[in-house]
C-alpha cells in the first residue's frame, strides 16, 4: 500500500494514500472534534467542526474530507483553529432549541459534548430562530427539526445505507431543513421505521415514539401485564448503565423487569424457537412441494415493509410466519391465558425490542389473533433503560434472575442468535438439518452465515440435500441481493434479511453510540459477541429441543403448520404504494 508522509502539529505521521487528515490525526492519537462525520455513513464536510490549518493554504479546511498529500503540514490546535471552531459551534447553537434538560438525548448528545469540550460559555449571537412543528404521526419515529443541526447523517443512512431515501434536505440557506418530499410526515411515506436515522442522529432531532407512558399506565392498572424481551436487548442494555459494550446482562435485565412490576417476564427466545419450528417446516414444505422459492424470512418488520413498498413481486416469497414476538404475543393471549385462567382481554403484552419498526408492526390489523392486538405495546431497549432509571433501580447492582416458567427458563441458543445477522438462518439450519436427516446432528456452528459481510451466500449440505442460503443485513444489501435474485444471477432456496446493518444488535431501538466511539469500535461485532457467547454456553442449541416448545405443540398447537398453529402464528402481507 502506498504510504503518504505528513506532519500534524509537528509530529511526523505516515498513513495510507487516500486517507483523510482526520484519519491521519486519529492514527497519530490527535483528537479533532467532529459533528456531521460518521464513519462509513456520512462524510460531507458540512458542519465545519473539524477545521484545521494546512500550511500554505488560504483557508481552514475540513479535516474529515481533506485528503492527505505528501509533505503537507497540518495544525489542529492554533488560536485561529480554536476560534473558528468555537464560532461555528456558537452559530449552530444560536439556532438550536437548547432545552437540554428535557431533551431525550440529555447527557448523550454530541452537540452538548462539543459545547462542553470547546468551552462554549455564552452564545453571543441573538437572531432569528427557525420554529418547526414536531412530526409525531409515525407510530415509530418522531422528528423534531427544532433540534436538527443539518448534519445529514440521517439523510445519508436512509438514502445510501438503507436505500429507502424518504428524507432529504430541502429549501436553502437559513430555511434549509431535513424532511420528506412535499412536507409529508414520516408516517405517510414509504419510511420502513427501521430507526437507523435515530441511531445516527448526534442530537435529539430524532427519537422513538414514546410508549413508556402506556406501559406505566398498564402496570398501574389491574391488568395482567406480561413482558417479553428480544435477544438483542440483553446484549446492549448494560451500556445504558455504564457497563462495557458486549456484556450480556440477561439476569440483571430480568431482575429489573420484575422490579418494575411486570407480572410475568418471558423470553422472546421462546417466540424465536417457535418461529424456527414454523418457518423450518414451511421451508421444507416449499422445497418438497414445489412451493415459491427462495423463501425469505419475515422476522424483521423494517424489511417486511420495505418489501411491501419496493419488492411487491417478492411478497409470495416472504415466509408467512409472524415475527417471534408477535407469535409469542398470540401464544400468551391464547395458550397461556387458558392455562393461567385469565381472560385474554385482561392481559396486556409488552415487547422490549431493539427495534422501532416493531412499534409499527404491533399496530398492523392482521396481527391480532385473539381479537385484540397480539402485542399491546413495544418498548425500545432505550425506553426500558429509561423506565429502570425512573424507578431508581441500580441496574449494575442487581442480582441475576431467570425468566419465568413455563416459557423462558429453558431458552435455546438458536433463539438467542436471532439478534445478529445470520442468526435466524443458522437457527433454522440447525433444526432443518435434524428434521431432514431424522438425526440429531452434532455440528451446530454454521460459521459461513455469521459475520458482517453485507451479503453472505453459502451452500449447506443437509443429509442428501443442499440448501443454498443467502443472508443480507441492511436494506441496501437486501436490495442488491433481491435484484440479483430477480435477474436470475443468484439462485438460492432460503434468504434471511434483517433491515438493520449488523442485525438486531444494532437495531434502531438500541442504546445510541456516539460517532467518536464508532470510529474505533465495530458496535455490531462487539454486541454480536455477547450473543454468540450466550449461545455457546447454553445446554440446548436447537429450537426443536426446547421442551416447552414440544409441550406447546403436544398440548395445544398440534404439529407445526397445522390449522391452529396457522391461525395463531402466521400472517399475510400487502403491497403498499411507494408514493
Amino acid at each position: 500500500m502506498d504510504m503518504v508522509n505528513l506532519k500534524i502539529n509537528g509530529q511526523p505521521v505516515s498513513v495510507p494514500a487516500g486517507s483523510t487528515v482526520l484519519e491521519a490525526a486519529r492514527a497519530a492519537g490527535i483528537e479533532i472534534p467532529t459533528l456531521c462525520y460518521l464513519k462509513d455513513v456520512s462524510q460531507t464536510g458540512s458542519c465545519r467542526m473539524c477545521l484545521v490549518e494546512i500550511k500554505g493554504g488560504r483557508a481552514l479546511q475540513a479535516a474529515c474530507v481533506y485528503p492527505v498529500a505528501e509533505g503537507i503540514e497540518v495544525q489542529t490546535n492554533t488560536p485561529t483553529v480554536r476560534e473558528a471552531r468555537k464560532a461555528v459551534l456558537e452559530l449552530m447553537l444560536s439556532n438550536h432549541d437548547r432545552k437540554c434538560l428535557t431533551c431525550p438525548r440529555n447527557r448523550n448528545c454530541e452537540l452538548q459534548a462539543l459545547s462542553d469540550e470547546l468551552g462554549v460559555s455564552d452564545i453571543p449571537y441573538e437572531g432569528e430562530r427557525n420554529e418547526y412543528n414536531i412530526d409525531e404521526i409515525s407510530p415509530s419515529i418522531v422528528r423534531d427539526n427544532n433540534k436538527c443541526v443539518l448534519c445529514r447523517r440521517c439523510v445519508n443512512v436512509c438514502k445510501k445505507v438503507q436505500t429507502v431515501g424518504v428524507i432529504d434536505t430541502m429549501e436553502r440557506g437559513f430555511k434549509t431543513k431535513v424532511g420528506c418530499a412535499f412536507e409529508a410526515s414520516l408516517g405517510d411515506v414509504d419510511c420502513v421505521n427501521c430507526g437507523q436515522c435515530i441511531a445516527v442522529c448526534p442530537v435529539g432531532a430524532l427519537r422513538e415514539k414514546d410508549s413508556i407512558q402506556d406501559v406505566w399506565k398498564a402496570l398501574a392498572s389491574d391488568k395482567h401485564v406480561v413482558v417479553q424481551t428480544a435477544p438483542a436487548v440483553r446484549a446492549a442494555i448494560g451500556e445504558e448503565f455504564g457497563l462495557p459494550m458486549g456484556e450480556c446482562t440477561t439476569g440483571k435485565m430480568v431482575a429489573a423487569l420484575r422490579r418494575l412490576g411486570f407480572d410475568k417476564v418471558f423470553d422472546t427466545d421462546f417466540g424465536a424457537d417457535l418461529t424456527i419450528m414454523e418457518e423450518g417446516t414451511e421451508l421444507i414444505h416449499r422445497m418438497q412441494n414445489g412451493g415459491v422459492l427462495p423463501m425469505i424470512t419475515s422476522c424483521s418488520p423494517g424489511w417486511v415493509k420495505f418489501c411491501e413498498h419496493n419488492f411487491p413481486d417478492f411478497i409470495p416469497n416472504l415466509s408467512s410466519c409472524k415475527s417471534p414476538h408477535e407469535m409469542f404475543g398470540a401464544v400468551i393471549k391464547s395458550y397461556y391465558a387458558e392455562k393461567a385462567g385469565i381472560d385474554p382481554k385482561n392481559i396486556y403484552t409488552v415487547s422490549v425490542m431493539p427495534c422501532t419498526a416493531k412499534k409499527f408492526e404491533a399496530q398492523r390489523d392482521e396481527l391480532a389473533a385473539t381479537g385484540t392486538p397480539d402485542v399491546d405495546a413495544v418498548l425500545t431497549t432505550r425506553e426500558l433503560a429509561q423506565m429502570i432509571k425512573q424507578s431508581g433501580i441500580q441496574f449494575a447492582k442487581l442480582p441475576d434472575e431467570v425468566f419465568d416458567s413455563p416459557f423462558g427458563d429453558e431458552a435455546t441458543g438458536a433463539g438467542v442468535i436471532f439478534g445478529a445477522t445470520g442468526g435466524v438462518m443458522e437457527a433454522a439450519l440447525r433444526t432443518v438439518a435434524d428434521v431432514l436427516t431424522g438425526q440429531s446432528i452434532e455440528h451446530v456452528d454454521y460459521e459461513a452465515v455469521r459475520g458482517l459481510e453485507g451479503v453472505k451466500i453459502a451452500s449447506v449440505q443437509v443429509g442428501d440435500k443442499t440448501i443454498r442460503a443467502a443472508v443480507a443485513h441492511g436494506l441496501g444489501n437486501a436490495r442488491k441481493l433481491l435484484n440479483s435474485v430477480r435477474s436470475g444471477e443468484t439462485q438460492v432456496d432460503f434468504i434471511e434479511i434483517m433491515a438493520c446493518p449488523g442485525g438486531c444488535v444494532t437495531g434502531g431501538g438500541q442504546p445510541i453510540v456516539s460517532s467518536r466511539v464508532k470510529m474505533d469500535v465495530n458496535v455490531s461485532a462487539e454486541r454480536a459477541k455477547a450473543i454468540y457467547a450466550e449461545d455457546k454456553g447454553l445446554k440446548l442449541r436447537k429450537s426443536h429441543e426446547n421442551p416447552y416448545i414440544q409441550k406447546l405443540y403436544d398440548e395445544y398447537l398440534g404439529k407445526p403448520g397445522d390449522h391452529k398453529a396457522h391461525e395463531l402464528l402466521h400472517t399475510h402481507y400487502v403491497a403498499r404504494p411507494k408514493y
Binding site: K159, M170, E171, R172, A181, F182, E183, Y579
Partner: protein
C-alpha cells in the same frame, strides 16, 4: 417555493410522452436531474407531485431528492401559473415605495400565499426581483399588463378587471 399546489393535476398523455422522451435522453447522464427538471417545467409549466414522481422513477433517484432540488432553486415552481399571473416587484425601489403592503393586500384579497395559485387556477401570485421599471415604483404585472405608482387602494380595482 414550497407552497404545495392545491390545483388538481391536469397533465395530458402528450405531455407525459414528451417528459418520458426527456427522461430517456438523460437517463444515463450523471447530474441529469436539473436539466430534466428544467425541461419538465417547460412541458407542464410547473413541477407538481405527479411530475416529480415520474422523474424520480425515471432517473432512479428518490422523490425526496427531487423535491429537495426543486425547493432549493427559486426558478422551479410547485404551482401552475394562474390564468392571471400576478407578479409584484419586491426590488429595492419598489419595496421602499411600499410594494410589501401591496403584495400583502393581494394575499389577503385572494386568500393566496406568495408562490401559490388559487384552487380554481385563476390567479397565481409571485414576488419578483427588480423588473427594471423603478421609475414606476411600486410596480406589479398581471400577465403582460404593467401597473405602476400603486397604492394599496388600487388593488381591488386591478383585481376587478380580471374577475372573468
Amino acid at each position: 417555493m414550497s407552497v404545495k399546489s392545491s390545483v388538481p393535476f391536469n397533465g395530458t398523455a402528450e405531455q407525459e410522452a414528451k417528459l418520458k422522451e426527456v427522461i430517456a435522453k438523460y437517463k444515463d447522464t450523471r447530474g441529469a436531474l436539473i436539466p430534466v427538471l428544467h425541461e419538465a417545467q417547460d412541458i407542464y409549466g410547473y413541477l407538481p407531485l405527479e411530475v416529480q414522481v415520474m422523474i424520480a422513477e425515471g432517473l432512479g433517484v428518490t422523490l425526496a431528492e427531487v423535491y429537495g432540488v426543486v425547493t432549493f432553486y427559486t426558478q422551479f415552481s410547485l404551482n401552475p401559473k394562474g390564468k392571471y399571473a400576478i407578479a409584484v416587484c419586491l426590488g429595492t425601489a419598489c419595496y421602499v415605495k411600499g410594494s410589501g403592503n401591496i403584495i400583502n393586500k393581494i394575499q389577503e384579497s385572494l386568500n393566496l400565499e406568495v408562490g401559490g395559485c388559487t384552487p380554481d387556477g385563476k390567479y397565481s401570485l409571485n414576488a419578483t426581483r427588480c423588473i427594471g421599471a423603478c421609475g414606476l415604483a411600486p410596480v406589479l404585472t398581471v400577465n403582460d399588463e404593467v401597473y405602476g405608482r400603486l397604492t394599496v387602494d388600487d388593488v381591488p380595482g386591478i383585481l376587478a378587471k380580471y374577475s372573468d
